[in-house]
């Protein structure tokens, strides 16, 4: 086979040499032209049509006890903080793209999950339409939730980013940007549905509709979001924990919401002048019935000193409908174990080793949850009467 390919052009050259000696120059010119256009096509394929990017995080977290803030306990492993993602961007036409992102997480045994899979179309410079699987834009950093490298912190403030574990939806959105002289207003409307297995529950959102509006002068950014949906929440972790104590819960016990109306509202702002970076978000989520209504907020401030960016963050989260959870899942397990209240204090630093790689160190102190340990290991907190926990994190984030 190999030999054939080597011999064929030679044979062609010999036969052509005798027959059309006169038009040699013409043929060379033509071949040159073909070669050029092939080269051009090759270049355009290489440079424009398909692009691959990825991001990677790894690190180690350890807590001072087993309260379980953000899932970290006294014996955590490196795998828990590790993830690897690959993204392909395919230019379908000049104005349309297909984007797919695969994420493998250490705590899911590296099984690749499709986080993004959508088609986007840009009919004008200002309008972008997308359809497929996308991130739910609840928060300012929702779209880059797992891209640690693009964030200032070791992890997004859990007071706001923690309570809602559903992160993606299948549907469509439209984004319209108005460029003003030195600022821009971006409006996004989206609709779709969600089916997701998260760390503590399986969730279903039906007839999801939402909108975000943001304004930026590239120094300040202000953003508002509102979302409404019919939510079904099945508390799988609660069921598992009960089962681990040999308790068989009656059917329906762990159904925390069943096609109940759920609303989400949030406002946020950020300031970044290249030296100082201040970010804050305030959110409210409301679900009819016994599922928690939660108010959350955080503010963080960081300052760049060359390649070092130390930061401070404080956060707060509290359920607002504790009086609605008077019943019990079981005789010894009151619904009140879902009640949540806590304060979070983080101090840490980002260190940019080289463009594309950053190391982060973080200490987060969490307290004030002794009476309302929702989202933590409730039985551990209540039995051991714990009222605080420290989580230490060392993390490496990279984008390539």
């Amino acid at each position: 086979m190999k030999t054939y390919f080597r011999v064929a052009p030679l044979a062609l050259a010999i036969s052509a040499g005798g027959a059309v000696a006169q038009s040699n120059d013409e043929a060379v010119a033509q071949m040159q032209q073909q070669l050029n256009s092939m080269q051009q096509q090759l270049n355009s394929v290489k440079n424009d049509r398909v692009r691959f990017n990825g991001f990677f995080s790894t690190g180690y977290s350890r807590a001072s006890n087993d309260v379980g803030f953000t899932g970290v306990s006294e014996d955590s492993s490196v795998g828990d903080q590790s993830l690897l993602a690959l993204q392909g961007t395919f230019d379908v036409t000049e104005k349309s793209q297909a984007v797919m992102q695969l994420v493998g997480r250490g705590y899911e045994d590296w099984e690749p999950v499709i986080e993004w899979a959508y088609l986007s179309h840009r009919p004008t410079n200002n309008l972008q339409l997308r359809a497929g699987k996308m991130r739910l834009p609840f928060f300012m950093y929702s779209d880059s939730l797992e891209v640690g490298y693009s964030q200032p912190w070791a992890r997004p403030p859990q007071s706001v980013y923690g309570p809602i574990e559903s992160t993606s939806y299948v549907g469509a959105d439209a984004t319209y940007t108005i460029n003003l002289d030195n600022s821009a207003i971006t409006t996004q409307a989206f609709t779709g549905f969600n089916d997701q297995n998260t760390r503590s529950a399986t969730t279903e959102f039906r007839n999801l509709i939402g909108s975000t509006v943001s304004w930026t002068d590239y120094l300040w950014t202000v953003r508002a979001v509102a979302v409404t949906t019919e939510a079904t929440v099945e508390a799988t972790r609660l069921a598992e924990r009960a089962a681990s104590f040999g308790i068989q819960l009656p059917p329906g016990t762990t159904t925390l919401a069943d096609s109940d109306r759920a609303n989400f509202f949030g406002v946020g702002f950020s300031y970044d002048d290249g030296t100082w970076q201040v970010i804050s978000e305030v959110t409210r989520s409301e679900v009819d019935g016994r599922f928690t209504d939660t108010d959350s907020a955080y503010i963080s401030a960081g300052r760049r000193f060359g390649s070092w960016t130390p930061y401070l963050a404080i956060g707060w989260s509290e359920t607002q409908d504790d009086d609605e959870r008077t019943g019990e899942f079981l005789p010894t397990v009151p619904e009140a174990i879902l009640n949540t209240r806590r304060d979070e204090y983080s101090v840490g630093t980002r260190w940019d080793i080289t463009p594309g790689v950053a190391i982060k160190m973080d200490v987060t102190h969490v307290r004030g949850f002794e009476d309302a340990p929702g989202g933590l290991n409730q039985d551990y907190v209540l039995v051991n009467e714990k009222n605080s926990t420290n989580v230490y994190t060392l993390k490496l984030d990279s984008a390539f």
């Binding site: 991001f55 986007s120 840009r122 410079n125 779209d143 490298y149 693009s150 590239y218 950053a358």
Partner: protein, 137 residues
Amino acid sequence: MSKYSLTLLASLLASPIAMAEVVVIGHTAGPDSITQNQVRDIYLNRSQELPDGQKAKAFELPEGNGTRGEFHGKVTGRNDAQLKAFWSQQVFTGRGQPPEEHANAAAMKATVASTPGAIGYIDSADVDSSVKVILTP
């Protein structure tokens, strides 16, 4: 002799301006001028349009390049690490891809010269008739 030294003096005087000044270049069929804010918006993924309505195609020199540093210092106000973090956010939120990079001024010039809608930057000393200077930031 005096004529010779005069030329030398003139070139010495001219050299600080001629040698190390970054200029924004465009395809010869593109617009004749562009504002600094428009260039910034294109390089920070806020706009994909040239002033004449053509789709803009921006190009960069590699990280660590002196001309690149000067351009971003003047136009976007961001260093290489900040740009990398910014683009990682844009890429992984599906908002766009960073400008293609070219190894040196010659490659940048050749691509801008042959790509309609192209915009790039090089040292003013490297400019020739294959491209046109549309802004001196």
